[in-house]
Every structure is written in structure tokens, then in C-alpha cells.
Symmetry: C2
Subunit: 372 residues, 2 copies
């Protein structure tokens, strides 16, 4: 007989999930109600307003996809692309590669703009690609690369997309709530994020926002969206405005309670204060890491404060250190992905986990474990 599962207490300073606030956990344990209950529909409206605040947008189509960030990415691609379309995809880490997979699985062509892992997307290369491909329907790029901690200039890249009459499609899974992100001011057309990073909610939901311009493209498609589950023409019957909501799929009710509470907390703190907090504790962590000579993967001007990638020092074994941190301190930090596996650590300072106590614990624990 299998027994109930009692997870250990961890300190989550990897690339996400990050520590979840007890308030969010408590919200998730509240009694389940129906996904068409009038009280639930009111909560959905509040959530939409709070997501609009988090994304800094008035976009009507602003909602959480009922699945993790990878499904949010897929929602953006399958709704905007049709077979035969062309998309320019910037790759400077793992997630640009995943975007390429998405484009190709839509029957579209991906024109790749490659930059080294750990660097920001180069706007000059992007402009060259846009110039060379005037038939490109969209430009897709990662604002906050979770695999490296590099931040790209979403405003400039979106400006370039529009200059060449393409839509901009932005991954800000790790960005939302942690660094400035202004969907309306920057005129981003489609964006997706995740619940488990700087929003400090549990993993499993993917907030998205589509501009009216993007929604026009979705509504005037020649072919049906290849995913029934992610088809925004259908999902909006449930997440649309007004009191009338029609069943599409059964929403993950309790997970949405959690995201609602996380967004209430973001409102209470204030978005600008949240950005400032991430920056402040990043500077504290950076000072400590650099004091021992650890080197950051990303140049200072492109560094995400919420995801600190550092090279593992010579002679130090990745797995040994991370296992000891987990075992001795209950502390999780992230490994490198892909080509960076075994070469870097990714130290997250996201949402609820981004505080002075965690900076201190992380620095002390790392020092202790590396000395061993």
C-alpha cells in the first residue's frame, strides 16, 4: 500500500518552481467549486484584471492557459501560424529551440537567428533577417531566457518586427513580475509566461496576453487551429467577458485559486516594488558570489536579476555540490541545460524566494559545501 506523500521543506532557488507563499498554498486548499459557478466566474474576472496589471496591458484576451508554460508557448504558435507561414525565431538558449519545434509542427517554416547561449538576442541580426524575409508573419524571441539568465530587449525587437510588418511573439516565462515588462507600451502582440517563477505560484498555469491585432489574425485564419484544447476561438467562450460563460474544458479550479492569491500579493506589493526587490537581492547575491571569484555567464547589462547563472569553478563537481546542498541544507539550485549541463549553475531569486534570508543561506551553504 502506498502512503500519503509528505514532501520535505525545500528552499527553491533554481530556475523555477520558486518557493510558493503559504498564502498561495492555503488558497489552493480551499473547497473546490464548479468551473461555471457564478462566484467562480467573478473570480475569473478579477484574475483577468490582475493579469492585465501584471502584463501592463489592456488586452481583452489576457488569461491563464490551463497548463504549464510549454502549453502557453504552444497556444501562441498554433493560434497565430498556419501551414505554409514563415516565422523568424531567435535562439540564444533552450527555449528558442523549443519555439522552432513549435513553428515546424504547425507546418510553418522557421528562419533562425542564432546568438550564443548566455548573450542577448542581437537586434542587428534580427533586422537583417526581417529585411531578407519580408513575408515573415511573426518574430518570436525569448525576453528572459530561463536556460541562461540572459535578458533581451523586448521593446526594440518588437519595434523591429512592426517596422517590417510582422507580429511579435514573446516568451517571458521567467520575466513576468521580476523585471520591467510593458506589453502595451512596447506593443507586444502575443506573450506567454508561467505561474511558478516570479509570480511564486505553483507550476501548472501559463498566463498569456494577445493584442487586438494578434486576435484579428486568430479570428481570420483560413484553417482551424490544430489544437482543439488551445484554440483561442473556442477558449474565449469560457474566458471571455460578461456573465455568460460557455463550457470549453474544465478549468483547474484550485490551481486558479492559487494564481489569484499570488496576483493579489503582487498587487499589494506593487509591480515596480517587485522589480526593485528582485534587483536588490540580485545585487546582494552577486556581491557574495563575486567575492569568491565566481564568474557570471551573462554580461552585466543583459543579466536577469531573478536568474543568476555562474560558471562552476574548475575542479568542483556539479552533481556533488547540488546533492550536498539539497541533502544538508534543503536548498535546490539549478543545473545547466543542454550544452551548459555540468558547466554552470542557475541560482534563482524569484518571487517569494527572492529575499535577504535566502541570499544569506545560499551563500553560506554554497561556501560550506564547496569547501568540503
Amino acid at each position: 500500500m502506498v502512503k500519503s506523500f509528505h514532501p520535505p521543506n525545500r528552499i527553491l532557488m533554481g530556475p523555477g518552481p520558486s518557493d510558493v507563499s503559504p498564502r498561495v498554498l492555503a488558497a489552493m486548499a480551499r473547497p473546490t467549486i464548479g468551473h461555471l459557478d457564478p462566484m467562480f466566474v467573478e473570480m475569473m474576472d478579477e484574475m483577468k484584471a490582475m493579469l492585465q496589471y501584471a502584463f501592463q496591458t489592456k488586452n481583452e484576451l489576457t488569461m491563464p492557459v490551463s497548463a504549464p508554460g510549454s502549453a502557453g508557448m504552444e497556444t501562441c504558435f498554433v493560434n497565430l501560424l498556419e501551414p505554409g507561414d514563415k516565422a523568424i525565431v531567435c535562439q540564444n538558449g533552450v527555449f528558442g529551440g523549443r519555439m522552432k519545434e513549435n513553428v515546424e509542427r504547425c507546418g510553418a517554416t522557421a528562419v533562425m537567428v542564432m546568438d550564443d547561449w548566455g548573450t542577448a538576442v542581437d537586434p542587428n541580426k534580427v533586422e537583417d533577417a526581417l529585411k531578407a524575409n519580408p513575408d515573415a508573419k511573426l518574430l518570436a524571441f525569448v525576453h528572459a531566457e530561463t536556460s541562461t539568465g540572459a535578458q533581451s530587449d523586448a521593446q526594440t525587437l518588437t519595434y523591429l518586427a512592426h517596422k517590417y510588418d510582422a507580429l511579435s511573439l514573446v516568451d517571458s516565462v521567467t520575466g513576468l513580475g521580476g523585471v520591467p515588462l510593458k506589453v502595451d507600451e512596447w506593443e507586444i502582440d502575443a506573450i506567454y509566461s508561467g505561474s511558478q517563477k516570479c509570480l511564486s505560484c505553483t507550476p501548472g498555469l501559463s498566463p498569456i496576453s494577445f493584442s487586438d491585432r494578434a486576435m484579428q489574425v486568430v479570428k481570420s485564419r483560413k484553417t482551424k487551429v490544430q489544437s482543439w484544447f488551445l484554440d483561442l476561438n473556442l477558449v474565449t467562450a469560457y474566458w471571455g467577458s460578461g456573465a455568460k460563460r460557455t463550457y470549453h474544458h474544465t478549468a483547474p479550479v484550485n490551481a486558479l485559486y492559487g494564481l489569484h492569491e499570488a496576483l493579489v500579493m503582487l498587487q499589494e506589493e506593487g509591480l515596480e516594488n517587485s522589480w526593485a526587490r528582485h534587483k536588490q537581492h540580485h545585487l546582494e547575491l552577486k556581491a557574495g558570489l563575486e567575492a569568491w571569484g565566481l564568474k557570471f555567464v551573462v554580461k552585466e547589462e543583459h543579466r536577469l536579476p531573478q536568474l543568476n547563472s555562474v560558471y562552476i569553478p574548475e575542479g568542483v563537481d556539479d552533481v556533488t555540490v547540488r546533492s550536498a546542498l539539497l541533502h544538508d541544507y534543503g536548498l535546490e539550485i539549478g543545473a545547466g541545460l543542454g550544452a551548459m549541463a555540468g558547466k554552470i549553475w542557475r541560482i534563482g531569486l524569484m518571487g517569494h524566494a527572492c529575499n535577504e534570508r535566502n541570499v544569506n543561506i545560499c551563500l553560506t551553504a554554497l561556501e560550506d559545501v564547496m569547501r568540503a
Copy 2:
């Protein structure tokens, strides 16, 4: 400023979500740990074993999809079908229609076998369709139609599929845990369910199981699965066997705690006891409803005990009654879908909500409200 959301206490006797056990809610509020944490990976193995028990299968590919039942349905279709394939789809309610949408969005052709809403799928019609379409790759049908409460004979239909060399693809979203379902004995090839019905977990996860025969088809595809998120060739790197798990997407950690606890409870009760409990309380509810002359939509031999569809009596207004039940008793029952909207109610007795107290409350409340 939006305040924290405090849902009312409801009694959920609709078509799902059903009442969630306090044990499951408490499990969901436990601290989040990483989706690659060794403790979490152990929990995943336990969950797989318990899902194998619930499905009565030894299928290695038995796992929860990280999204609701509609995504479980899509997982089955997009992995098994390729463009140009043909599928026979049985429709006797809403969900057969959704299957057709899935088939067509895979670039495949759906041959429909239509039966009246509220009846079971007719095996004779299915055999005719299989005979007439020897090139059909699979037969898809709904074991437990959530829109009507009709149960079809999954064993016979699967036998017929195999007789004509087709795979069987089964929707048992509402069936799992509530009525006998024996994946190995009946030789079902691909099946999906939902967390929020007779398992009494919160909505948001979709348990699936694929036979080795079905997985051979997935592994030997000529084209890539059109959904990156649902591609089982990739997902199995995370949900596969052994200690080595590779990141695919970030699993919904706390939702999985909840499903784990729900499955522990199913084990404690015993699957056969759970089936018997659903039958017993169905008979109690049926006796009460029939005593007032209410008529069931589905013939007795095809009736799902966990979903009781009855015609709304002449002169009784659907919305008035359901609103009064919700307002005066905190009781949710389900409306009709599609052509049955306004004509039937769907009274669920699923999982934790399937008990004598709820039968009594429902009968008393309905009588009171209808008299008003």
C-alpha cells in the same frame, strides 16, 4: 484592490468537478518541491503504480497528462494519428463530437457512427463501419458519456476494433473509479480520464494509459506529433522509468500531490468497493427520483451510476431550479449540454460526493425547490 478569494462551500453533484476530499485539499497545500527533486521522482513512481491499479493495467505508459481531460483526449489523438489516416468515431453525446474535431485537426478523416444522445454506442453499427473501412487505423468511442450518463460496452467495442485490425481509443473521463474498467483484460489500446470525477481530485489532470501496441505506433510515426507539449516520445523522458528523468515541461507539482492522495484513498477503499459504493448510492437516488415520477434519460442497462440524467418535468424551469438549489442549499447539479440544454439535469454521484448524506440532501432540496 482585489481581495483574496474565499469560495463558498458547495456540494458538487454535477457532472464534475465533484466534491474533493479534505485529504486531497490538504495534500495540495503541502510545500512545493522541484519537479526533478529525487523525492518528487519517487512520488511519480508511486503515482504511476496507483494509476496502473486504477486502470487495471500493467501498461508502462500510464501517467497523468499535465492538463485537463480535453488535453488527455488530444494526447491520444495527436500521438496515434498522422495526416491522411482514417479513424472511426462513435458519437452518442458531446464528447464523440469533440473526438471528431480532434481527428480532423490531425489532418485525418473521421468516419462517424452516430447513435442517439442518451443511448449506448451500437456494436452492430460499429462492426458495419469497421467492415466498410478496412483501412481505419483506430476506433474511438466514449465509455462513459459525461453529457448524457450513458455507458457503452468498452470490452465489446475494443474486441471489434481488434477483429478488424484497428486500435481502440477510449474516453473514460467519467468512468474511471466509478464503474468497472479493465484496460488489460479488455485490451484497450489508449485511454484517457480526468482527475475531477470519480477520483475526487481537483480538476486539471488527465490520467492516460497506452498499450505497448499503441506505443509502437507512436514510436514508428513518419511525421512528428503536431503538439510538442503532448508528444509522448518526449514526455516519456520525464515520466519514464528509472531514476534518470529529463526535463520536458515543468510538472504541476501541487496538483500531482492532490492526485497522489486521491489515488491513495482509492487504494485504501479498494477499486471494487468504490464501484459498489457508486452503484449503491445510485440506487438510493434512483428510488427517490422515480418516486416523484422523474424519468431517466438512459435505459437502465446502460446507465452510469455516477451520472444520473433525468428529464426536467413539464412546467419546471431549469435555471430557476438550479439557481435556487445553489442559493438555498449550496448544491450544484448539472445542466444539459448541446441539444439537451434546458431539457435534462445531470446529477452526479462521483467519488467523495457519492454518499448517503448527499443523496438525502439532493432529494430533499430538489423536492423543496420544485415545490416552490
